[in-house]
């Protein structure tokens, strides 16, 4: 089963913030960010001087969705299903996906929102791909994240340990989207197979993002917990498994891949994972990554990579994308071929 990618779009709020700008605001050493995180720039939907939100999650998702529709040459009325993946919806209710549909003028069709992290984009592609058929062929799939809710700007930054400080420099806001079609006769890259599986049985979460309501807002718990050691140890192996599985499913020899879209954790970790995959599988594929420029914006990442990939494709190209979610461990990936 496969579908055609008709177009992609992205939304990155404001101008890119470099490490010097981030360093000045959060008392981090730009060299430390460069060396240990590897992220060069990111975009934030928050004005760091005033703390005001400039771009909500719905703003970003709608902008990326509109751009993808425009790139695809598809009108809102043609969209048969909308799937949005995010870990940071503007509200618990209404679901952000419906506010996005409203902005885009999409109506009378099913909409889904997936609560997910780094694997969300691929999960959304999986769900959307299964929701479309010859009769209802067009899906708009969006991944978006915003860290506005997690940025407390009035902390004593110099006193924070690196494990907490990293959260202020590794993430970024943004959204990406793709338009898929299951109709015959479409031209464009063919997406599929798309794989998506929970693989965290009995395994501790590598990442926890808590949410608080009126009842527990004063619990004092830290909203964000990451076990970077577990992530560093677990993600490369899961990525390798995914690559192996996709090659087996497609029958593609690893050496025949032209493009690799590796997991986007942070500039440095992504580079290390890619290096490992290249060595292990003998890859000659071109790496398509974005995290060093965009920061880690969770659900948006594979769409941002896809957006960078499409203009590079020539007929016969084969790409594989891998996305591993370390929260409770989800292994995802997809193959894409330019006919």
């Amino acid at each position: 089963m496969s579908s055609t990618v008709l177009g992609t779009g992205t939304a990155l709020p404001g101008a890119p913030l470099d490490n010097a700008a981030i360093g000045a605001r959060f008392a981090t050493d730009p060299r430390w960010v460069d060396r240990f995180i590897g992220t060069k720039t990111r975009h934030l939907g928050v004005d760091l001087d005033t703390g005001k939100v400039t771009h909500t999650l719905v703003d970003l998702a709608a902008e990326a969705g509109a751009a993808a529709l425009a790139a695809a040459g598809v009108d809102a009325g043609e969209v048969d299903v909308v799937v949005l993946a995010t870990a940071s919806p503007d509200h618990l209710m209404p679901a952000s996906v419906n506010l996005v549909a409203d902005r885009l003028g999409i109506h009378q069709v099913p909409t889904y929102q997936l609560q997910s992290g780094c694997a969300g984009a691929v999960q959304a592609l999986d769900v959307a791909g299964r929701m479309i058929d010859a009769e209802r062929p067009v899906a708009l799939v969006i991944g978006a994240d915003s860290c506005a809710k997690h940025l407390t700007l009035d902390r004593d930054f110099p006193a924070l340990p690196p494990t907490e400080l990293v959260n202020y420099v590794i993430f970024g806001d943004g959204a990406g989207a793709a338009v898929l079609s299951a109709a015959d006769g479409e031209t464009g890259p063919r997406l599929g197979p798309v794989r998506n599986a929970f693989v965290g049985l009995g395994r501790d979460p590598g990442q926890v993002i808590r949410w608080f309501g009126a009842g527990d807002r004063d619990s004092g718990e830290q909203p964000l917990d990451e076990d970077y050691k577990a992530i560093e140890a677990g993600v490369p192996e899961l990525a390798a498994q995914m690559l192996d599985e996709l090659c087996a499913l497609t029958g593609w020899a690893p050496a025949s891949l032209t493009h690799l879209l590796p997991p986007q954790l942070g500039g440095r970790m992504t580079a290390a994972i890619t290096e490992g995959l290249v060595a292990r599988f003998g890859l000659t594929a071109t790496e398509v990554s974005c995290v060093a420029d965009t920061g880690n914006n969770g659900n948006a990442l594979p769409f941002l990579q896809l957006h960078r990939l499409l203009p590079q494709l020539v007929p016969g190209d084969r790409a594989v994308a891998l996305a591993i979610e370390s929260s409770k461990w989800i292994r995802t990936g997809f193959a894409l071929e330019m006919p």
Partner: protein, 980 residues
């Protein structure tokens, strides 16, 4: 196979929905609009029979009319059936919606078919023959509803009104489609209109037991209890599908076929007939080549009378009974009521919207009537919005007339059109216009909102569509920006409109095109333009290729790489390539200069544009010229002196070096070897003159160039000598060389050593309204300003190193604003040249024309002298002049002037404030021959002498010319104080 017909344009004005978008929202929300009879119809205390006060769907502000836009005098507008006025405005917008400027239809074989079944304005205003006027005559009647559209839009195809009672407008659409299929016309306009000005039909429905108590039709619903009436106007623009697709027009839906028939001798003249209805539906299916199973939904006639619904459902059941999946059924009458003459087209527009957006709006009449047994007839009532499947969708629209004329059309969804968006970095121009500042600004605000609502990559299409649709208005507007930057640019431009001077009547600009010379290049020149202007990019690439490799790279490569452009072997070809590419882009866009001027080496690009050289010839020559000069020994120098040549000669005497350029009365450039020039500079400075040494490697335009003259003459002689196609103000000869002059090798050889006679050449730029400079920065515009010779508007294609790349588009925008109609396809990249729906023209609603409420009809019935015209007058709320009124000296109140103004105002209905001197009697004031006769009648007693209308006619051009003429005749102060 029936030829498919595309619905390419639509607009409507309906109760609760002033335009198409609002109607679509109303439909999706399932709103109903019935309300009480407005006070401006007939009085609430009217003691007429039952039905008089039945609620209905009434239009908001049916009285407003932008008479000035159509050049119709207030007096005539007030006499016109408001149905005609509504049709005019709605038709204009519907044509715009089709991606075509209504003015572009003028003179074409376009037909007009208007469905209309009531003419109650006529009932009110024609009953008393003693009150008859010419304008009442032409302002009423079914025929005029159509003929007026053909007149004002200058459409040459058939023009007719259709009355088949309630099916009138769907029959009109069918006739329009038939005319297209027959090849009789290439575009057809079909419309329907209905205004309720008397309670006559309401009383009729009530007395026949057909009136719904709440004024709402509830089609196919259990609660159906009869008809509620509604008003409105709807217009569709039709093309043969192939033509529409070929011309890139957006398609709302396709009319695949249709049929019109009659009940014949049925149970009674007005009784509906199941078998006749079923037959017309079958015939429509056959005509469209479809079977009943193909039809996803039918927009039913659906009056909401028990009998009417029953018969319609049975007729549909006769056709659809055997279906596998039920067919959806609905009717817009549930929302708006029965629009009578406009009912069919309203249903058609709803069906088109449903096909286009793939959602069938709900029919809000409550639960279905179980007695209809819809399911058994293969039907399902669309009580809630229904998402329609993808692929080709088919639908039917029914409309049945009271006297038995039944119509059914079969439609399909628009063919899929995949048009991926263009680059958001491209520079484009968005234009707009209006008959008045008010309309221009209101329209621009809507355009700005539409632009903002689109994703950046698609905004270029809105800009493109405005260039195709919104042109030719008195107030012209154009703004240049990148596609992405359009919203911000529009906001700025909109703000700047406040308080801007009133425009003059635009005339076609006459343009001088100038080419910058040496000294202007800088690293990376024109690169922003290269990035943001695709046609310039293409021309620069071509010129770069023509020039060949210079300094080991292409010109394009050097520019993009930010290379040093000081060596003359590089500077000359680069300058040529940029100047040529700028001019060629403008030429492709339809900028045809009246005169060319090139400063020194700038003459090569000028000559190329003037047809003297091909691009390859000119490129090769310039490259050779640069290389030859580069090879000369260095050490030459040039000196710019703030003084004229005689003064310098007076100071230097025998030590006078060569004069390289006469750039202005106080701008002379000397050229020669370095030592001589240093001495000259010392002497001139000592004499109190300001001297600036120029950073050059060689002494250009001096005898030091002589060693290369013969070789260059030979090179130039190898190229055919061709005549100028456009006059050239030559800086070699210091004279205007008319078209036809042959520029031979000697000319180009002379150019090397001779001074650049810019001052003398520039004297020939005095007349053009615009001077455009094609070069990396506007050096010549500065010289012209200093010299004070060229008074035209100066426009620079590249302002200098700070250029943002939108400037060439800005030049076109400025020229368009000032009266040029460029070929915009030369600016827009193909991905942006996709017609996109834009908001329709915003008419000025401040002028209202209505009959006095309460008592008007009584007065007629009583046979007293009818008040309509008189009562119409107070209702004319200060007609606003749409003619620029500011900056115009008031007319001196001579006797003749006063008499003319009073008489004109009396005859036309314009307030005297609108009668500014340069107002044109025909275009601006809507003056016609009937008014000319009346004007003479009004003037004679005021002037105290007889007037010959025939003799007066030639002077009936503007207000001022008329006054002038009469004052001369009367021996008054001819023209004094009256600006002509």
């Amino acid at each position: 196979m029936t030829i498919p017909v595309a619905v390419v344009g639509m607009d409507c004005r309906l109760p609760g929905a002033p335009d198409l978008a609002a109607f679509h929202r109303l439909l999706l929300e399932g709103r109903t609009v019935a309300g009480p009879v407005p006070d401006d119809r007939w009085g609430p205390d009217d003691e007429s029979p039952a039905g008089t006060h039945s609620p209905g769907g009434f239009l908001d502000d049916a009285a407003s009319f932008d008479h000035g836009f159509f050049g119709i005098a207030p007096a005539e507008a007030a006499a016109m059936d408001p149905q005609q006025r509504l049709l005019l405005q709605t038709t204009w917008r519907a044509v715009e919606d089709s991606g075509v400027s209504p003015r572009a239809l003028a003179g074409t074989e376009t037909s007009v078919h208007v469905g209309v079944m009531s003419s109650e304005w006529g009932t009110l205003h024609l009953a008393d023959h003693r009150a008859m006027t010419a304008h009442r005559g032409s302002g009423n009647g079914y025929c005029m509803a159509a003929n007026r559209l053909s007149y004002h839009l200058d459409l040459k195809g058939p023009s007719l009104a259709v009355d088949s009672a309630c099916s009138s407008s769907l029959v009109a659409v069918h006739l329009a489609a038939t005319a297209l299929r027959a090849g009789e016309v290439d575009t057809a306009i079909a419309a329907g209109v209905n205004l309720i000005l008397t309670p006559a039909l309401s009383v009729f429905y009530a007395s026949a037991g057909l009136a719904a108590a709440d004024g709402r039709c509830k089609p196919f619903a259990a609660a159906a209890d009869g008809i509620g009436r509604g008003e409105g106007v709807g217009v569709v623009v039709l093309r043969r599908l192939d033509d529409a697709l070929r011309d890139g027009q957006p398609v709302h839906a396709v009319i695949d076929g249709g049929a019109v028939g009659s009940d014949g001798r049925s149970n009674g003249l007005t009784a509906p007939n199941r078998f006749a209805q079923a037959e017309v539906i079958r015939r429509a299916h056959r005509s469209g080549g479809i079977s009943a199973d193909d039809v996803a939904f039918v927009e039913g006639h659906g009056t909401g009378t028990k009998l009417g619904d029953m018969i319609e459902v049975r007729a549909l059941g006769d056709v659809h009974g055997g279906r596998q999946a039920p067919m959806l059924l609905g009717s817009v009458k549930a929302n708006l009521g029965h629009l009578e003459g406009a009912a069919g087209i309203t249903g058609l527009i709803k069906a088109c919207l449903a096909l286009e957006h793939r959602v069938l709006p709900p029919t809000p009449g409550g639960p279905e009537n179980p007695e209809l047994r819809l399911a058994e007839h293969g039907l399902r009532l669309a009580a809630a919005p229904v998402r329609l499947p993808s692929g080709t969708l088919r639908a039917g629209v029914s409309s049945f007339g009271l006297g038995g004329t039944n119509a059914h059309l079969v439609l399909s969804s628009p063919p899929p059109r995949r048009t991926p968006a263009g680059s958001p970095d491209d520079a484009v121009v968005l234009v707009s216009g209006g008959a008045s500042r008010h309309s221009l600004q209101a329209g621009l605000r809507e355009l700005a909102a539409a632009v903002r609502a689109e994703p950046p990559a698609r905004r270029g299409r809105i800009a493109w569509t405005t260039t195709q649709v919104r042109t030719g208005h008195r107030h012209r507007f154009a703004v240049a920006a990148t596609v992405e930057g359009l919203p911000a640019a529009l906001d700025t431009a909109l703000a700047a409109l406040d308080g801007a001077p009133e425009p003059e009547r635009p005339r076609t600009p006459s343009i001088a095109l100038t080419f910058t010379g040496q000294g202007s290049p800088y690293p990376g020149m024109a690169v922003p333009l290269y990035r943001h202007c695709p046609p310039f990019r293409a021309h620069l690439d071509a010129a770069s290729e023509a020039v060949g490799a210079v300094g080991g790279a292409t010109v394009t490569g050097l520019l993009l790489g930010g290379a040093d452009l000081t060596p003359t072997a590089v500077a000359q070809p680069a300058l040529f390539a940029v100047g040529y590419a700028l001019a060629a882009t403008l030429r492709d866009a339809g900028v045809h200069p009246r005169v060319l001027l090139g400063h020194s080496v700038g003459e090569f690009a000028a000559a190329c544009l003037a047809g003297v050289f091909t691009l390859e010839e000119a490129g090769g020559l310039v490259a050779a010229r640069g290389a030859l000069m580069q090879a000369l020994p260095t050490g030459g120098a040039m000196l710019s002196v703030r003084a004229d040549e005689p003064r310098i000669r007076e100071i230097l005497g025998a030590a006078m070096p060569d004069v390289a350029a006469l750039n202005g009365p106080q701008a002379t450039v000397l050229s020669g070897d370095g030592e001589a020039l240093t001495k000259a500079a010392d002497a001139l400075t000592a004499a109190g003159l300001r001297c600036t040494p120029l950073a050059v490697s060689h002494a250009f335009h001096s005898r030091l160039m002589a060693p290369v003259v013969e070789e260059f003459r030979e090179r130039a002689g190898a190229v055919p000598a061709r005549p100028l196609q456009v006059p050239l103000a030559s800086t070699v000869r210091g004279a205007l060389l008319p078209a036809g002059t042959v520029l031979d090798a000697d000319y180009w050889a002379d150019q090397l050593c001779a001074p650049v006679r810019f001052t003398e050449a520039a004297a020939h730029l005095a007349d053009p309204t615009h001077v455009v400079e094609a070069g990396p920065r506007p050096v010549l515009l500065g010289l012209l300003r200093q010299a004070g010779v060229a008074t035209g508007t100066g426009l620079a294609c590249v302002p200098g190193p700070n250029a943002d790349g939108t400037e060439l588009a800005e030049v076109l925008a400025a020229l368009h604003h000032d009266g040029l109609d460029p070929d915009w396809s030369a600016l827009f990249a193909p991905a942006h040249r996709v017609l996109h729906r834009i908001p329709g023209y915003v008419f000025d609603t401040r002028n209202r024309f209505w009959f006095a409420a309460n008592g008007n009809t009584d007065a007629l019935a009583a046979g007293t002298p009818p008040p309509p015209l008189q009562s119409a007058r107070p209702a004319v709320e200060t007609p606003t002049p749409d003619i620029p009124a500011s900056d115009v000296p008031a007319l001196v109140a001579t006797d003749a002037a006063a008499a003319v103004l009073t008489a004109l105002s009396e005859v036309s209905g314009h307030a005297t404030g609108a009668l500014v001197p340069h107002a044109r009697l025909d275009d601006d004031l809507g003056f016609d021959s009937v008014m000319a006769m009346r004007l003479a009648d009004e003037l004679e007693p005021r002037l105290g002498e007889p007037l010959d209308v025939e003799a007066l006619l030639p002077h009936l051009t503007t207000v001022a010319s008329l006054i002038d003429h009469l004052e001369t005749r009367l021996g008054g102060p001819a023209g004094e104080g009256v600006p002509a």
